[in-house]
Amino acid sequence: MTSRPAPQLLALPLALLAIAVFFAVKEPAFLGPRNLTQLIVEFSIVGTLALGMFMILLTGQIDLSIGSGVGLIGGVAAVLVFQQGWSAPAAMGTAFIVALILWTAMGTLIVRQRIPSFIITLGGLLIFKGLFWLVIQNSTIPVSRGDQENLYSRLTTYYLPSSFGFALVAIVLVALGILTWRSRAARSAHQLANPPAVRAVGQWLVMAAATLGLVYFFNHFRGVPLSLVVLAATAGAVYFLTQHTPFGRYLYAIGGNEEAAVLSGIAVNQVLVGAYVLMGVTVALTGFMTTAYSGASTTTVGDLMELDAIAACVIGGTALKGGRGTVWGVIFGALIITALLNGMTLLAVSPEIKFIARGAVLTLAVWMDVKLGRR
């Protein structure tokens, strides 16, 4: 429902194509299976975080603390595994609960004390950074003990066996088919017109071809990355939440007109805290993945990721003032941001230039948001 087809609808794939062509011309390895797999893992990390940020932005709020939070939560789990000898699931579970507590507290502060989220989360950025460095004692903490692999370390290095990848996609496709069929049946039961069956079947076939093709491609190298499954599951959950639950409607309503939302009987405070708690969930997931991807928790893990997440959302058409945005847009935005970062790394662009490029992209995206937002 909700979002109108934004002008970005075609712009996003075109931008992505342009970026891909540019880097592929400069460095053919960009489109090689090794780099693409790496890119997909990085995309999963940024995308998951951006999906959490998406729900915050929908309400017109912001969260600047998530980059530090990503480092902190990953660090907590790493310390528990490496120094305390906990099992990876127990360590990650504990760190997950820490994230939930921190983000519930921030959300509650924002709604109860009416302190702007910008300030609270800016404070969070610094506090979490300090806590993070305290927790890891400014050192490098591996995510596993000895050379043993565990669930934590394998988050970004595990690839689904080829048959398993196909099986998973098949299950998802069947589930999608059933859902579509049921929704059509429900519409018919209410005497509502359905789009022609041919179209539904066609869409499903395209989806099937695309996903199966993707799996086939990944299987040629190492298989479907586990992190991509995490992203897909997160995206599915966020899509369901925002499009099929009252909670999601309320996110859009609060961002669109908070006063009207209050007078429409929406428990605005609860919804906002809920959005921050969900942000905490994605921060924890991202924290684990990005720390695992680095192989260890070090002081720079998570740096500036909040800006990548915001950029991904805004590039994807999410309005900073709230009330507008789609999950698909966020996914595309994350893909674009990741492709840029990955491509620059591949070309061995110096860190100075990378900072400037990142800043320019963020600024450009926000500028476009402002231009389009004024309509």
Binding site: T2, H190, Y250, A260, L263
Partner: protein, 545 residues
């Protein structure tokens, strides 16, 4: 006519020869002013003139066109956005901006102060034109000159005082001082005494008389007719955007002015069909001694409000702007104020700690006055807005939305309210005022309320849409729902209500049953004058048809 004559003549001080009868050229004149807004004609062929050394009052109901006229005179609505001409000293002028009007000597002082709280009185007086020495502000010179000006006005305020430390009356006077220092010849005062105490009003009026004696002309807008009669030389009455008449105060009386302000035919514009059988039903909502403050430790704004409402009945609330009508509705709905005393009972059960959510659950619905601000998510489709308050109705296992069921319900409302749009996916922000109002109404009605509170439901919508709103009110009462109707338009209030309560400064100024409705009585009650014959008894009343 039950009004006593206004107790004014002894207060006026019209000793100067420059009365309404001087034949000199008017300082300011308006000829055939017509101002159209999309869908509304705010002013039609208005004529008005102002002579040096007179105080000329503008009177009219809310929405009669007073503010629009002021905005034309002061350049807020630029030349070219209206028809007709404005003359200053007999020459046509074309103000493009407030600055142009100021340059011509016209200054407007409104209820919202244009003072910067954080700056001193002197800084405010010389804001944007501070005396300088080189690049620096000459503070000594500024404070000296400000001190002189204040002394001229007989104001015992130190120039260095921060404006935030001043009372409202003093702020008003500082604004006038500032305006006078800008060589102002025409001072426009828009409801200058709305927030002043009696003492401050007297001080203000004294200053105005002094300015008049010095030849300054003044346009004075006030709902308080006592003041108007105390200070003015002439009164121009506006109604529905037209200048009805201009009277010399010595020929006028309060009842006469009120008559001109409201004089309008009540035809079949208001198709009220009462579906109300009062004695057989328990009240759906009953309010006893309700006293509400804006915030916890502030003085109460609504005081001692009591009323009952039964199913099938329309209770109208009238009163001047700021009398507390909207605040009362917002408070009942749990969206405004701190309840200092009193109780609200819904169908016999106390409703003591209201929130909008609880109110909706208990069967209250509120359609707010400012639909764009409080009613709609403009960026979203019609359907999104219609079901926004009712989503719990459509959840399966209290998690996921039954979208088809929601769509069908939205469609029912979309069609029965005859919203003019291609379909329910159209953006609400693109609809006309009347259609937006239908969406807000639909949103409220979908929650299945038993008490529907409508705050200015027909403001800014065209006649056809108004009729549809009235028909909807009839439909609601026929279904046994109770309706509270707040309106600034007396004919509408009288046409659609079974009973009317007029509020005056947060209190009940009078309660009337249909047989007692008359514009004069209602307006008198709204102005805090108790008209004879106003129904005051609170007991069960007979059907008034």
């Amino acid at each position: 006519m039950s009004d006593q004559p206004s107790p004014t003549p002894d207060l006026t001080n019209r000793s100067l020869g420059l009365g309404p009868w001087s034949f000199e050229k008017p300082l300011l004149a308006a000829r055939g002013l017509t101002k159209k807004f999309p869908g509304v004609i705010a002013l039609r062929d208005v004529a008005f003139d102002l002579r040096a050394g007179e105080v000329h009052a503008l009177c009219g109901e809310n929405g009669a066109g007073k503010s629009t006229l002021i905005k034309l005179l002061s350049g807020i609505h630029p030349h070219g956005s209206y028809e007709g001409e404005l003359l200053v000293d007999g020459r046509a002028v074309a103000f493009q901006h407030i600055r142009d009007a100021e340059a011509a000597g016209i200054a407007v002082i409104t209820q919202e102060f244009a003072l910067v709280d954080e700056l001193s009185v002197a800084e405010n007086i010389f804001l944007g034109r501070a005396p300088r020495r080189g690049l620096r502000i000459d503070w000594l010179e500024m404070n000296r000159r400000a001190g002189e000006l204040l002394a001229d006005f007989g104001l015992a305020i130190a120039p260095e005082t921060p404006v935030r430390d001043l009372g409202i009356g003093q702020k008003q006077l500082v604004e006038i001082v500032r305006a006078m220092d800008k060589k102002t010849r025409v001072l426009v005062l828009d409801e200058p005494t709305a927030a002043l105490t009696g003492q401050e009003v007297a001080v203000l009026l004294d200053h105005l008389r002094r300015l008049r004696a010095q030849g300054t002309a003044c346009i004075y807008i006030s709902h308080k007719l006592d003041e108007v009669f105390a200070i003015s030389d002439r009164i121009t009455v506006l109604r529905d955007g037209a200048s009805i008449t201009t009277l010399a105060v010595r020929d006028a009386s309060v009842p006469l002015v009120i008559k001109h302000m409201v004089g309008r035919e009540l035809g079949d514009l208001f198709p009220r069909r009462s579906g109300f059988t009062p004695d057989s039903l328990e009240p759906i909502i009953s309010v006893r001694g309700l006293t509400v403050a804006p915030a916890k430790n502030s003085p109460p704004f609504l005081r001692e409000i009591s009323f009952e409402l039964r199913g099938g009945e329309v209770l109208g609330f009238g009163g001047l702007m700021g009398a507390g009508r909207s605040e009362l509705l917002l408070h009942l709905f749990g969206a405004w104020g701190h309840r200092a005393a009193g109780e609200v009972t819904l169908r016999g059960a106390a409703f003591s700690d209201p929130t909008p959510r609880a109110a909706i659950t208990r069967g209250l619905a509120l359609v707010t006055e400012d639909r764009k601000r409080y009613g709609l998510v403009l960026d979203q489709p019609i359907g999104f807005n219609l079901s926004l308050s009712s989503l719990p109705q459509f959840t399966r296992a209290s998690v996921s939305l039954d979208l088809p069921a929601e769509h069908v319900r939205n469609q029912t409302f979309f069609e029965s309210l005859r919203v003019k749009a291609p379909d329910q996916r159209a953006r609400v922000g693109g609809l006309s005022g009347g259609n937006q109002q239908k969406v807000v109404l639909g949103k409220s009605l979908m929650t299945g309320p038993t008490v529907v509170m409508l705050d200015e439901p027909t403001r800014g919508i065209d006649v056809g849409a108004k009729l549809e709103v009235y028909e909807l009110i009839n439909r609601l009462t026929a279904e046994g729902k109770a309706v509270i109707l707040v309106s600034s338009e007396l004919p509408e209030l009288m046409g659609m209500s079974d009973r009317i309560i007029m509020l005056h400064e947060g209190k009940i100024g009078g309660e009337f049953v249909r047989a007692d409705f008359s514009q004069e009585k209602l307006l008198a009650a709204a102005m805090g004058r108790r008209a004879a014959g106003a129904a005051k008894d609170q007991g069960p009343r007979t059907n008034t048809q």
